[in-house]
Symmetry: none
Subunit: 189 residues, 4 copies
DNA sequence: GATGAATGAGACTTCATTCAT
DNA sequence: AATGAATGAAGTCTCATTCAT
């Protein structure tokens, strides 16, 4: 009845297409884009979208979770890198880099919800733990000042993403802004 | 139509009330709040809102411009302060502080529009010039590193506002995040 | 602000038109008829319907309340009639007669809700009290058996309405069915 | 296609399960319950439901016909009972009793369709003939007044079912209402 | 100038029915 | 025969904007 059978091949394919389309549409036009457009982009009927994601919110969430997962994968690679300091800053950069879109990690949900998204969902907690690990390692290696915690780092990630978004195409400006924050994060004295 | 006569007293009063109401409503509930609610808060009919601001977008813009103006006033005060470095950082702090709302300076409009708002409007350009002045003074005084320009500073303001928004009520976290950025901004070595 | 001013003339006119249209449409095609059809019938936009009645349910309720009110008016006339027994049966007949439609007094809402509608709303309670009065008067006059109460009478009204609905156009059959129930209601021996 | 072969065993089993599930779901939640829920309750795919019953309406009809058939069976038993009057009233009671559900014999379809269902289908006509038989026997025995016919009796059954539905859980009220109608049906004077 | 009722496009969501697997 | 994913028409409701009062 409530079988654990794997979903049919076509269903899986459509689900992936919808997520891809949602990602594209949300990224370029914001989460307020009509669901119908996502369906069209995915090449499916709107009913199919709602079969896979019962509400629009669920769809947004799913797209965000994928983003979180991607970040986690990247972080996982860096968590064991030789140079803990370099790994930390590289991770920050990759987060910021992945936010050049209208669907920022957390902008999608209201600010309050954003915190929730990172605390309430297993994926969010995973990512949080990972950031914690990367951060502490860098701190132990003396590459990052000791008086910041995960919360501040995540906050700065969010802020830098926003700043980068603001700077738009001007990559040089982004680099300069990041270098300011990075300098601030480095152990001093 | 475009007679140069000054607006009637009640019209001016209504305009002010609408702007105040819009600020309150947008700040607490975001720009997607229905215009009708703003009219109700202002104690006027919805028709009056649209008479003063032909589209909702125009209303949002007007509210933002007021914010910019307030910032400019604060900046103006600091532009001549005794300690140029302190003035610079105080200005940053006041910008961040004024962003604890759902109507961030630039979140309101899409990122692209945001840049436009700061470049295209006279008010935006005024503010920009002011930031430039405060920044250069602090740099000449040796309080801020020389390799950042207005663009980066404004970008960091936006980013810090977002970060503060993210941190929500946790003022201590906000302080720690700001101290990181401020350290990064200070002249080093 | 929250003024008690009477609604504008055109609004009142539209409200009346919508109620009329809703009555007509619901009666002939059932409450599941789309709201759009009611709007079209009333000659207004669909937005106007929802401005006056925030949900479809509210519209249905309003239509039913009018029906209740009409019944109450008829009942009021009979409550003081010379022959209490005749008045009682006449009232029953008028209730049944008014139910030759797809919007029966209570069919509209689920059975449970129906009871609620007659108990929860002031209008329903008014009508209930009125039925009580007419019934008791007839009982005191010896025209109706003493062992039935308001609840049973209202239940029988509902049932007879349904039976009449079932019989459709065959008025003779309706008469015969009613005469059975009326005989049963008369005081015996 | 229309080969006379008997249906496969599993097909027959599924058909039965679907009808059972449809009965359960329609009874408790009304005919507007989604077909998908019936499929789930029956433990089959929705495609299977539509294979057996080409439209939802056909499914509703089938469920109703089963109800008619059950009634016919009960009636058949009573048709030969010793006391024709008691049999008649017992039959009425069992009809009313079987209607404590959201799928009343006839409520399911619009009133017009209901009559049709009882006249057009062989099952409906069978039941009608049966009611006729039970009624006439009771009339011959002097237990029921002579001036009512099948149509009125069926109409009263429908009405009493509705009245009982209205009374809901209050069985005492139901009894009192029925006693009124039964008294009215008895031969008088 | 002010009011707020009217408008209608468009958003989200449901569900009977079809059809590839 | 059975399955359940896909479909899209249709329904309810929102809200920026217009316009008669």
């Amino acid at each position: 009845m409530t079988d654990g059978r794997p979903p049919r091949a076509d269903a899986r394919r459509n689900r992936a297409r919808i997520l891809e389309a949602a990602h594209a549409v949300f990224s370029s036009r914001g989460v307020s884009a009509p669901t119908e457009d996502i369906a069209r982009t995915a090449g499916v009927g709107i009913g199919t979208v709602f079969r896979h994601f019962p509400t629009k919110e669920a769809l947004i969430e799913a797209v965000i979770l994928i983003r979180l997962e991607r970040l986690r994968e990247q972080g996982e690679l860096l968590a064991g890198a030789d140079d803990p300091g370099a790994a930390f800053f590289e991770f920050l950069s990759s987060v910021v880099d992945s936010s050049r879109t209208k669907l920022t990690l957390v902008d999608a949900l209201g600010p309050a919800d954003a915190v929730a998204a990172l605390s309430d969902t297993p994926e969010g907690q995973d990512l949080r733990r990972l950031v914690d690990r990367i951060l502490r390692r860098a701190q132990r290696a003396g590459a990052v000042r000791a008086d910041v915690g995960v919360n501040e780092v995540i906050g700065l990630m969010v802020g830098c993403s926003r700043a980068a978004q603001y700077a738009g195409h001007d990559q040089r400006a982004v680099q300069r802004m990041l270098s300011v924050v990075y300098d601030g994060l480095r152990a001093h004295r």
